[in-house]
Subunit: 552 residues, 2 copies
């Protein structure tokens, strides 16, 4: 038997687009003599459909797509993901299903049994978990069809009372097919491949897994669909961050000696992955919203430089517009560094000094600010004046403003709400400042694209004379590891202190993280590249901060 | 047996505050000869704790509070809500539990079986549903302890395969006690009371239900805890929107002839409920964040007038600061109406014209805007200039900016991101414009507090000459019923059209709602007073709009 894995970039709710791509893939697979083609989880409607699943019309469109795809599958079998109705009384009204299509019709429907409801997932909001698991027989082969999480409980995740492949194994399948939408994080792929290998080894059957590729707002999918042989060896990993269709003969898979498993990347490899994911994320968010051009404020600092490089990579230099907005405390090098970068990239750039606007605000507020000390309020006015200008250009010309905040500053609230926190998409909002340096070094690997001075100078918001980030924050090399423990590892401050970090500092940073939830709830969507993003997947109360949590 | 229902305003994560209030209630109940005191769902930690439940320290604090409360319960029994560990392997690591305390210790723990995971609820993210249900025996009475949703499947909600009271009924309990955190919506209480009555009638036992009271950010709880007799008659409903503790003798409850059930309110009754809920929501958000004073932009229009009245009611006139920000297209009556209202309420008010600031922006952008037609970009600059001034004052003096957007305009995107969409709390963001008129009429029932002219004049954003809301939108009396069907009733456009609404208009409005999700994701928390809010409880993809959903 010859199996085609079709990893496709679907678009939520764009049924004609999704269907066209699948029919095209079916035709491709047929030409290459495939017996069976496998699409990813919820492929007919795109992933994640969220509350569109409450719409009867949306569900009808899903079923219509399944039927239309079935018509294209006369001589070839297909496995396609989509929601299906739970007709039994009791339980949620939908299943997250895999439809097995052949002979121009739906032959069998398999439902997902393990519904992830944690971090970025909320599948139990919509779906009933399958209680029964049945294999499918096709061309003499018995196939265990599973949907994403179904194969993840092999080592007892601790979250689910059942392990669907154990039940399916009782029917002696010849292979496991897994359709998935497993979101990207820079360190996630080795674990995903490992799960496939462990299932193959445990059940002594080959495993074929199609994973979604593409960005859906903040959630990114790397594809990298994979095949394992019956000995639990990895046989192939398909390309990452692009659509792809590949054919696998079961015989060849079974005989394949296996390739090396992937390791968790570090150094430049890690940053290359992040870069590819972010570029895909920008491209898809613009592509799927239908917006062509981006605009951003270029300060001469690292974050906006990095965002610009990524945007140019994603959209093309002709589609990105850099705006320099020097303020009263901008240094000369800020302007020269920004201009240098814009010229290196060949992007259109304009300069709009904010001095007069800021003066105008200061004058308006003078009667009320007169007897006060200058501080955050005055600093924020500069950041917000920039935002008004950028949004003015955005509104006038239809370009989307890119947000340039990094994860470190978003975590501790070192950013101005309605100022530098503005934008339609937070490009590097899930990238710690120390990781931003890693990305910049990678970008400059061959040529100095980002001016060296942008990378080596001390980070500064330049909102008051001689300001440095370290006036308010610890150095990022100290801040980021603490944030990583608080956020990614979800450690309590006491556990971090027990690991040898400075008590006062850890408590201060934890407090800052909790205190600034109110800013982050108004943040644009953040492209998620880590296992714990400050945007999607984090649901933290705002008001708990004034209780004892404020002294964690 | 004498039972005390203690409806208390808890604060998420504020363990000492929550514990003190409960110990105080235990002492009160003891003085009034209660045998048993009943608190609401997750009372030790506050509701909803969200991702704080991932913290081991938080869970330890919860258990510590339970143990401390138990120590106060030597001679009196108590039922208190809190998370507890699921020690079995398989399943989520927590239960949503009711602890039965007596003799200074935890005597028994009952877990919630039905975990709401829809709309504003995501309990399956954290909790494992109980599989077993056991009654508790106390002073010769057998008590079926249930947690909120557990009693809601009595008519087969369709979402759950089990009905816990049916299982508990097999043990012949003498009463049902329900601890709940059932969020307020203007039409929700009759249904909640009806569920209590139906349980009492079906199982022929009295039902005692303590409901949470207070606001937790956007989620509001009205209290109105209730008691039913064994015939299914409502016996008592406790006060709404305030803390309260009441004693009930079982004998008296059983003999009580019953009171009238509540009907879904309409007219002034509906608006009075909304008003009370919004005032409580403002008061608690400020109280729990520790912020004393509010600031808002007062335009002379209805929305900011209404927000000001509610804020003054919640915080006191000395704690609210009104800022008039007349712009180039503000009418004379805007200023006079705003001043009239400020004077009627006796609040501090200042006037900061935005003309110079707007001119300064126009000048900065002139080189780029010169050959374009004036439009949305220019209008938004005015709204954003106001926001910069308001946020400047907010930052300088520590007052929280109140957002004044209504639900109708938020739904169709008739608001400026980073302009009038700014604020720490959206006070009337779940109030349709037509409902805002209802609230205004209620407020003016006795005296003309809101100037009549504010109510009768045609709504206008006043961002260009002679602008009216109806230039871009249908009249609110036409818009709001369509929005209600799209949002609250979750109807598809085709269903609304089938109900007799204009096809072109319905499709246009549905498209506007879908297209503006990108703005709403950056909205402040919205006080939820309806069964379907545009903030919490809505999880809609942003990018689906450009697919076929954009032509719904």
């Amino acid at each position: 038997m010859r199996i085609a894995l079709a990893q496709i970039n679907f678009h939520v709710g764009n049924f004609s687009c999704n269907l066209n791509k699948m029919v095209q893939a079916v035709n491709d697979a047929r030409k290459q003599y495939a017996d069976l083609i496998v699409f990813s989880e919820l492929s007919v409607c795109g992933y994640p459909p969220r509350d569109l699943l409450y719409s009867d019309r949306f569900l009808a469109q899903c079923m219509d797509s399944v039927h239309q795809l079935a018509k294209a599958c006369t001589d070839i079998g297909a496995i396609v993901g989509g929601p299906s109705r739970n007709d039994k009384s009791g339980g949620k009204r939908l299943y997250n299903s895999a439809f097995f299509l052949h002979d121009g019709a739906i032959q069998q429907v398999c439902h997902k049994g393990l519904l992830p409801t944690y971090d970025v997932f909320n599948e139990y909001r919509y779906f009933e978990p399958a209680k029964e698991f049945n294999t499918v027989v096709f061309k003499g082969k018995r196939i265990a069809i599973t949907v994403c999480e179904d194969i993840w409980n092999i080592n007892g995740l601790g979250m689910y009372p059942v392990n669907p492949p154990d039940i399916l194994a009782l029917q002696n399948p010849d292979m496991i097919i897994n359709i998935s939408a497993s979101p990207f994080a820079w360190n996630h792929r080795p674990q995903r491949l490992q799960i496939l290998m462990e299932n193959a080894a445990k059940y002594k059957v080959p495993v074929f897994s199609t994973n979604l590729v593409g960005g859906q707002t903040d959630l990114l999918f790397d594809g990298a669909s994979a095949v394992c042989n019956a000995k639990g060896k990895l046989v192939d990993v398909m390309p990452a961050f692009e659509e792809s269709i590949r054919m696998y003969d079961i015989g060849e898979v079974l005989d394949h000696p296996g390739i090396e498993p992937h390791a968790v990347p570090s150094g430049p490899d890690k940053y290359r992955l992040m870069q590819q994911a972010l570029v895909m994320g920008i491209r898809d968010y613009f592509g799927k919203t239908g917006i062509k051009k981006a605009i951003l404020g270029l300060s001469g600092g690292l974050d906006s430089a990095l965002t610009l490089v990524l945007a140019v990579d994603a959209l093309g230099k002709e589609n990105v517009w850099a705006v320099l907005l020097p303020g009263p405390y901008s240094s000369d090098h800020s302007v020269t560094d920004a201009l240098q970068l814009a010229n290196n990239l060949g992007v259109q750039h304009i300069t709009i000094p904010i001095g007069d606007v800021v003066k105008s605000f200061d004058k308006s507020l003078e009667p009320y600010f007169a007897d006060t000390n200058g501080g955050i309020a005055e600093e924020n006015i500069q950041a917000r004046a920039r935002a008004v200008i950028l949004m003015g250009l955005s509104n006038k010309f239809g370009h989307m403003l890119l947000n340039t905040s990094n994860k470190s500053e978003a975590a501790v609230g070192y950013g101005t709400l309605y100022g530098d926190m503005c934008g339609g998409l937070a490009v590097i909002g899930d990238v710690y400042k120390t990781e931003a340096y890693g990305l910049a070094r990678l970008i400059n690997e061959k040529d100095e694209i980002i001016p060296d001075n942008t990378i080596v100078k001390p980070p500064s918001a330049e909102l008051k004379p001689d300001q440095k980030d370290t006036d308010s924050l610890p150095p990022y090399e100290i801040l980021d590891p603490i944030l990583f423990r608080l956020l990614e590892l979800q450690q309590d401050p006491s556990a971090i202190i027990a690991d040898g970090f400075d008590e006062q500092l850890v408590r201060k940073i934890a407090r800052m993280v909790f205190m600034n939830e109110y800013k982050r709830v108004q943040s644009p969507p953040i492209l998620r590249v880590s296992p714990k993003c400050l945007g999607i997947g984090r649901e933290m109360p705002i008001e708990a901060v004034n209780g004892e949590r404020s002294k964690p």
